[in-house]
Symmetry: C2
Subunit: 451 residues, 2 copies
């Protein structure tokens, strides 16, 4: 009964898919898809190379396309949607939750959006139109309109009977929202209280009023940290006038948390846009090319620094052998500082009130570790080249470079953030450029002075 | 009414704290702490340098210490716990949820655990003892025992009356678990169905049985991906015999998702253990030192490769100027491949059924981007040093290094994973060592052959 590990299962399905694609026996795959949930199919599609992926789409029951699509990442959604005509899009959005339908519609041209909306029934259209104006990266874009509301003056018994009149209630129903006649949000009636209180009490007597609703234009990252901090399962969303617009549920917030965390990791390697692990060469190469081009410029800059000291290197070739060590140590140390700062920023821990303490701490760490490894490097250099001065030079350059690296590791992300540039994206390239250039300059510069 | 952005608020509190620490006017801080939630205080503590942090602990109401503590990261918990005597620990765990109390106890010596358990009332002790044997990184360690259970043969009306007899129900109550007389898990009774169905129906008629409970020894990462995939709010946990042990709720899963995502980012910079952004110099320096030492060894290895070609460099100093470019381009390209693979592994997308496709794709990307930027680098080198052969050499070395980098970016994490070594931790260092060494070797080797 209990499941095998998730990953083993995916790989098992993928192997079956590979075999079926090779042998042409696709009937078994159709069968397999029937037994999987929408989310499992979406995961299988995201884990498949293009050929297998197109087979999966072809074999998938048309009626499940919409619900599988909304489990996929944006990039895959866009790839899939671009080949669909309006009728297919209408069929696809039919039966989706309003926030998911809106997410799909927002990727389409205005003309198509209008046609799809016209084909919906009045209630669905109204719900989707309520969400459509909000960018998908805001609370308004995350919200759904499946919330259940009540008035403060009703008794709990009436609320219970009202709920019983529903054929089906939303899967996630942890609170009912209390509003006045003008739809202004007044408070929450938690289901746990509804179930455990005396049914003759009124909503007003039981409701919680100390929770602040989320404003529709709050960023999705802020929404995520509110949910994380307060252990919410759902939360009301209001407009600037305090009127209830809808609600956000934790399942959509979990996706935001995952995406935000992914973003830092991918950005630090210059892969900001790389959502699809199995994108084709044609899609991948151009995206990565730019970053490599920027790095070529950065590397040329460092090469120029070395070029300043050609005469010195010509005299003592050992310098060419040792100089990458100084640059590399600075790069690694600086990258550690940078990563800590970027993560602290993502967690909302770092601002101008505590940056200077971090700056001092990082410098302290750099001095200690710089001295330790500079001594080691110096001893090795002296033994290798039998020259004490070279040992002193590499040690001095390394301590200086590690200190500059620590300072840059704190200041670069702070400066980038102040300039509204994503520190995760631009930070590591900027840092390495500095640690390379400073590493080469101090090492070769000291050598020019003392050799 | 609606809140300022989360981050602005934290920084506001931190500035107030700094001012108070400087002026000694601590009463206002005591006041501020009263108005904040446990989670907000925990976030403030995590965002504070050591001096401010100790003031916060001192001013915090004793009765809130336990609940604030359980919102903190492990490292901060351990720091705080190590100065507490047994009586203080007993006071601290009093009133905590069993899984949180167990998390704290697991960090203490066995003798202290026994004493704290003895001081608890019988029911609490029984609950905590049920969780204590499970490692905190498993479903058993994540679970809580606040689940509500029912029998299949009862009517919904009886269940509703049973719920009403509770003074307080858990905050998150989305499903009731259905068990038989031997506590074997039979199915779920979603609250949404309990509220919308005819009260005269039996639990058996309404319950869902197609959900598989989580086994207690499932890893927390697998638990997280099950919750993410299935949009669960809570899930039952069973032992190997299918007996219900407790439940996991989404709020604890969100923490796992955040930690797992953080782990990849930190590990790639060799910061696996760096949970506390504001750790002291004394705590930080030794942790980072090891990684720098490993990098020094790696850099010495690359330096050795350069050393093989001292004679060539002596003849043509331009080589020393250009060689870091080849190494750097390989490092950046390889790191992009590595990051994609590590993220794909963390998402459970990559296994032996699709690795070879990724390998081919990455090689394809490397050839295309390698050729583009090799041409640019060649032209620049020719113009700079007025030597066509050097241009051809740098272009050839760069294409080779980018291809090796792509291959290494796929193979290193796959090999590390097979050896049960964390790819995120060891991958980037191993990769850079290869791209540096190969970059220097091909560039200087080709130069030795052709110059």
């Amino acid at each position: 009964m209990p499941q095998a590990t998730d990953q083993a299962q995916t790989q098992h399905h993928l192997r079956a898919l590979n075999d079926a694609v090779d042998s042409g026996a696709l009937q078994s795959i159709r069968h397999m898809l029937k037994s999987l949930t929408d989310a499992d199919i979406a995961h299988l599609i995201e884990s498949s190379p293009p050929k297998q992926r197109s087979v999966l789409w072809r074999l998938l029951d048309n009626r499940r396309e919409g619900s599988v699509l909304q489990e996929l990442g944006e990039e895959l959604q866009a790839n899939f949607l671009k080949n669909k005509d309006t009728d297919e899009l209408i069929a696809l959005t039919d039966g989706l939750e309003p926030d998911d339908a809106a997410d799909i519609l927002q990727q389409l041209p205005d003309r198509v959006i209008r046609e799809v909306l016209l084909a919906m029934d009045a209630q669905d259209r109204q719900r989707v139109e309520k969400i459509l104006p909000y960018h998908e990266d805001t609370a308004g874009g995350l919200m759904n309109t499946d919330n259940i509301t009540t008035r403060p003056d009703l008794s709990l018994d009436v609320v219970l009977r009202y709920l019983r009149r529903h054929d089906e209630l939303p899967d996630i129903i942890d609170t009912i929202f209390v509003v006045n006649r003008k739809d202004k949000f007044l408070g929450l009636l938690p289901i746990s209280k509804l179930l455990s209180s005396d049914p003759s009490m009124t909503v007003r007597e039981v409701m919680t009023t100390d929770i602040e609703p989320i404003l529709a234009h709050t960023s999705d990252t802020d929404v995520a940290s509110l949910f994380e901090r307060n252990d919410w399962v759902s939360s009301p969303v209001v407009n600037d006038e305090g009127q209830l617009l809808g609600r956000i549920t934790i399942d959509d917030v979990v996706d935001v948390i995952r995406e935000d965390a992914d973003h830092s990791l991918l950005s630090m390697a210059g892969l900001d846009e790389e959502a699809d692990t199995f994108a084709t060469v044609r899609a991948t190469a151009p995206r990565r090319a730019l970053w490599l081009g920027v790095n070529l410029l950065a590397a040329l800059f460092s090469a120029n620094v070395i070029g300043l000291f050609e005469a010195t290197i010509e005299k003592v070739v050992a310098l060419a052998v040792l100089m990458p060590i100084v640059a590399s140590m600075g790069g690694v140390a600086g990258n550690q500082t940078l990563t800590i700062i970027i993560r602290g920023m993502a967690l909302g821990q770092i601002g101008n009130s505590n940056t200077s303490w971090l700056f001092t701490r990082e410098l302290g760490v750099a001095v200690i570790n710089g001295l330790i490894w500079a001594c080691c490097a110096a001893i090795i250099a002296v033994l290798w080249f039998n020259d004490t001065t070279i040992g002193m030079i590499i040690a001095g350059a390394m301590v200086i470079n590690l200190m500059i690296a620590a300072a840059a590791g704190v200041l670069i992300p702070v400066a980038l953030k102040a300039m509204k540039i994503d520190p995760a994206l631009a930070g590591s390239m900027a840092l390495t450029t500095i640690t390379d250039a400073v590493g080469f300059f101090t090492f070769l510069g000291l050598a020019t002075l003392f050799l």
